[in-house]
């Protein structure tokens, strides 16, 4: 069961994109097509979208501000654009994928694969989030640890601020770069924050961080964490 929203102003391109997506997903996937973001806004705010394919003319000045807004949303964003020269910049902002036009079936399938991979490592350097409906940014390097909070994620920064992000922890992990690790069902952290790991009775593990905070480590994650830290 997956909800995909597609925003593309050129009907022929939208048709083609929808066709390709349809071909690499199962029957339970629904695709909603919109010709522009304004029309899609209401639909996107329902929170049932998992993935947004967004056509952007990045040549204009407001293309990137539109990306910023989408990246604060709970769903993942795949940018489809003719302007591929700014792809790296988009990745650093946390797009799940960036597809140049004209695109092939294979390329669309690859994007869909990327979406379903939980261990995928992204290249995000800067997270967009909304705070009192104002778009804000957080440098990925400033993250101390992240805790799942229902559909949301609660990010604790190095200066002990807490930020609520609309994306689920699973999705954040897909775009956060190498160095971040899921250490618990509800926790993730950057490896270089860990000072040492303490073992408690009953196979309970606690990771003590440089800041003095401590984060629980899942039993199944313990060995991987130790391995990762050992390297």
């Amino acid at each position: 069961m997956m909800n995909i929203t597609l925003v593309e102003d050129e009907p022929m391109v939208a048709k083609r994109l929808a066709r390709f997506i349809d071909q690499c997903t199962d029957d339970k996937t629904t695709i909603h097509r919109f010709s522009n973001l304004d029309d899609a806004e209401e639909h996107l705010s329902n929170r049932d979208t998992d993935l947004l394919f967004l056509d952007l003319n990045l040549h204009g000045k407001d293309g990137f501000s539109l990306i910023h807004q989408q990246l604060a949303a709970p769903y993942h964003t795949v940018v489809v654009s003719a302007n591929t020269d700014r792809a790296l910049e988009a990745f650093e902002l946390g797009v799940l994928d960036f597809i140049g036009k004209p695109f092939t079936q294979e390329r669309i399938s690859k994007a869909m694969e990327r979406f379903s991979l939980h261990q995928f490592k992204g290249q995000c350097q800067r997270l967009s989030y909304r705070k009192n409906n104002v778009l804000c940014f957080l440098q990925v390097d400033d993250i101390q640890f992240i805790q799942a909070a229902g559909h949301y994620s609660e990010i604790t920064t190095k200066d002990n601020q807490t930020i609520l992000h609309d994306k689920h922890l699973d999705r954040l992990m897909q775009i956060l770069p190498q160095g971040f690790m899921r250490v618990h069902r509800s926790y993730a952290l950057p490896l270089d924050e860990v000072k040492h790991i303490e073992q408690h009775s009953g196979a309970k593990y606690i990771a003590h961080l440089h800041s003095g905070a401590s984060v629980p480590v899942g039993r199944t994650k313990f060995n991987t964490l130790v391995d990762a830290l050992g390297q």
Binding site: M12, V13, S35, N36, D38, D39, N57, A82, F103
Partner: protein
């Protein structure tokens, strides 16, 4: 530069010497050939400045006082080491006697037996030291003026004594500066002339060339005396030539300034009238050649200066520079009126010439810049038009759409590719022109709409007015209507469906324009008929035309910038672009001068029109 000129003027003081001027000039009306006695009772005291001229021989007598103290301590002894000389200039032939001894002749005054042999205008005699006394010396001159011109009733008697060498050098001193200027002026005159006929068709340069030529003639006329000398009967003729040339220069100088500051013909004629009247007044009511020259020139300078100041007030270009030029270069006249006319005038004028050359070179540089700029603009606009079709957004979206058509309906895909090829072909042939026929522009728009139809899987059409031969041949910059269509696509959200754009001539405006042009034809020949085109683009539910653009004339979009640049390139400021919303349409009203491919009605853009005629032929 001003410093330099002043330096030359100030340094050009004649060497310090103290000429000895005559005193007690008297006249004796007698044809006798032997030297009259000093105390002859017939001697009459006479003014030195107007000796009556006649065929009759008369004697002039004056005293030269060689004061021992004024000439150094040794008096006579000193004259031995540095021989004294006497400079004499009067209209006539004469013999000179010092203390009763004959010391020389200039020509030969008439005697009872023979007629007069005319003398030179300027002559210098050595005062032999053996005849020379310390203190008063009596000099007598036997004079006749048989060859005097009819107009010359009297003559000044210009005489003084000094070291002989100093006197011999006087003429050289007097002509040195004017001659220095001469060669420069010849070059400037020729240069201005060539500039006028080869590159800048500005009348100011022709006037300036004329001015320089007149000055060259004036310098020659002025310097002739010192350079070559002449016998006295030609003196009045030379003075008349000098006065005449001064008159011409006095007329041309203000006209040059009028022309330089681009005053109208009316100003030209009225100034000329005033000048002629003032000059007539000067010539009729004043006497003396030098004095009248000076007055003529002063009037001329005054008028030039007034126009200079008026131009400063009107903030004309270079007004400050030129007016300061007049003021600075002419001010030596305040120091010494006569030597100004003789010498400094030419130095000052050369300064003015230099200023003008400076202005000229700046004008040239500016023209060059403007030319380069306009070439750059044109090339940039051409590039912009091509770039529209090469933008990744356009090409890659189009390619994506083509891929889709190929997979789902190959036949349609072929149509799409053909439409694309057609637009590229048209673009290639139109992009390097400043103006194209309206028909061609419309055809380009239709190709583009066809492409957009394939891309959007929709139907776009352009409703166009009846394109008679006449209207279809009107000229418009390439890509202007196309840009309006592109703007419509970027500001609206056209989905699949039917959309119509419309292009029409604004009839009301056309009638009005014709009415105005007929009515104004009598008053204003500059008013040319104009064409008003109305372009309407259907607004979709969401449109992003910036309504602020309605109040704010500055279009900020890339497309609007392109349109404005193209119109400016083709029509200067003679166009208008108005945008507004009417019903459910975004309306763009474009007014620009009517020009035709056939060239029959075009005048201002004849050159461009011609070019296009050639290309369409």
């Amino acid at each position: 530069m001003t410093m330099l000129i002043w330096g030359v003027v100030l340094l050009h003081e004649q060497p310090t010497h103290s000429p000895t001027f005559p005193s007690q000039v008297s006249i004796l009306y007698s044809g006798q050939e032997e030297v009259p006695a000093e105390n002859d009772p017939r001697w009459r005291a006479h003014s030195q400045s107007d000796i009556e001229l006649s065929n009759e021989v008369r004697w002039l007598k004056f005293t030269l006082a060689f004061n021992a103290t004024s000439n150094g301590s040794q008096g006579v002894q000193q004259t031995e080491s540095a021989p004294k000389g006497l400079f004499v200039s009067i209209l006539g032939a004469f013999s000179v006697y010092l203390n009763g001894y004959h010391i020389g002749d200039n020509g030969m005054p008439a005697t009872a037996e023979s007629k007069e042999l005319p003398g030179e205008i300027d002559s210098i005699f050595i005062l032999p030291s053996q005849y020379l006394n310390t203190g008063d010396n009596t000099v007598m001159v036997r004079l006749s003026s048989e060859f005097r011109p009819d107009t010359a009733q009297s003559s000044g008697f210009w005489v003084f004594a000094d070291d002989f060498e100093t006197l011999a050098a006087i003429n050289e001193w007097r002509i040195r500066l004017p001659l220095m200027m001469l060669s420069g002026l010849v070059l400037v005159a020729m240069y201005s002339f060539v500039v006028y006929f080869s590159s800048l068709k500005e009348p100011a340069y022709l006037w300036f060339s004329c001015l320089c030529t007149m000055l060259i003639l004036l310098i020659l006329a002025e310097s002739w005396r010192g350079l070559f000398g002449y016998s006295y009967q030609w003196h009045i003729l030379r003075m008349e030539i000098v006065l005449g040339l001064t008159l011409v220069i006095s007329l041309v100088l203000p006209l040059f300034f009028l022309s330089f500051f681009r005053y109208s013909k009316t100003w030209f004629i009225s100034t000329l009238l005033v000048l002629v009247m003032a000059s007539c007044g000067v010539l009729l009511y004043f006497d003396g050649y030098d004095y009248r020259s000076f007055l003529l020139f002063s009037v001329s300078l005054l008028i030039s200066f007034i126009f200079g100041v008026a131009s400063i007030y009107k903030r004309k270009k270079y007004a400050w520079l030129m007016t300061m030029g007049i003021a600075v270069f002419v001010s030596p006249v305040l120091i010494n009126r006569f030597s100004f006319m003789d010498q400094y005038f030419f130095v000052s004028f050369s300064g003015l010439a230099l200023l003008l050359l400076l202005v000229l070179s700046q004008t040239h540089a500016e023209r060059q810049r403007a030319l380069t700029q306009s070439t750059l603009t044109t090339q940039r606009l051409q590039l912009e038009l091509i770039k529209k079709q090469l933008q990744p957004h356009f090409i890659l979206n189009t390619l994506t759409a083509i891929e889709e058509w190929i997979e789902i309906a190959p036949k349609e895909a072929i149509g799409f590719i053909q439409a694309l090829a057609s637009e590229f072909r048209q673009m290639a042939s139109l992009s390097d022109r400043a103006l194209i026929a309206l028909q061609q522009e419309v055809a380009l728009c239709e190709s583009h709409l066809k492409i957009m139809g394939y891309r959007f899987d929709a139907h776009f059409s352009l409703q166009k007015p009846e394109m008679s031969e006449y209207k279809g041949q009107q000229l418009i910059p390439p890509g202007v209507l196309l840009t309006l269509i592109e703007n419509a696509f970027s500001h609206n959200r056209y989905g699949s469906g039917e959309y119509q754009f419309s292009l029409s001539f604004s009839e009301q405006q056309e009638d009005e324009a014709q009415g105005v042009s007929v009515e104004n034809a009598k008053h204003d020949n500059n008013k040319r008929p104009s064409t008003a085109l109305l372009f309407k683009a259907q607004l979709t539910q969401h449109y992003s035309y910036q309504t602020s653009a309605l109040e704010n004339k500055e279009g900020t979009g890339v497309g609007t910038k392109y349109i404005k640049a193209r119109l400016t390139e083709a029509f200067g400021n003679d166009w208008k672009l108005v945008e507004f919303i009417e019903d459910k349409y975004w309306v763009t009203k474009l007014t620009f001068p009517t020009t035709f491919v056939s060239g029959e009605q075009s005048n201002a853009h004849a050159e461009q029109t011609e070019q296009i005629t050639l290309q369409t032929l």
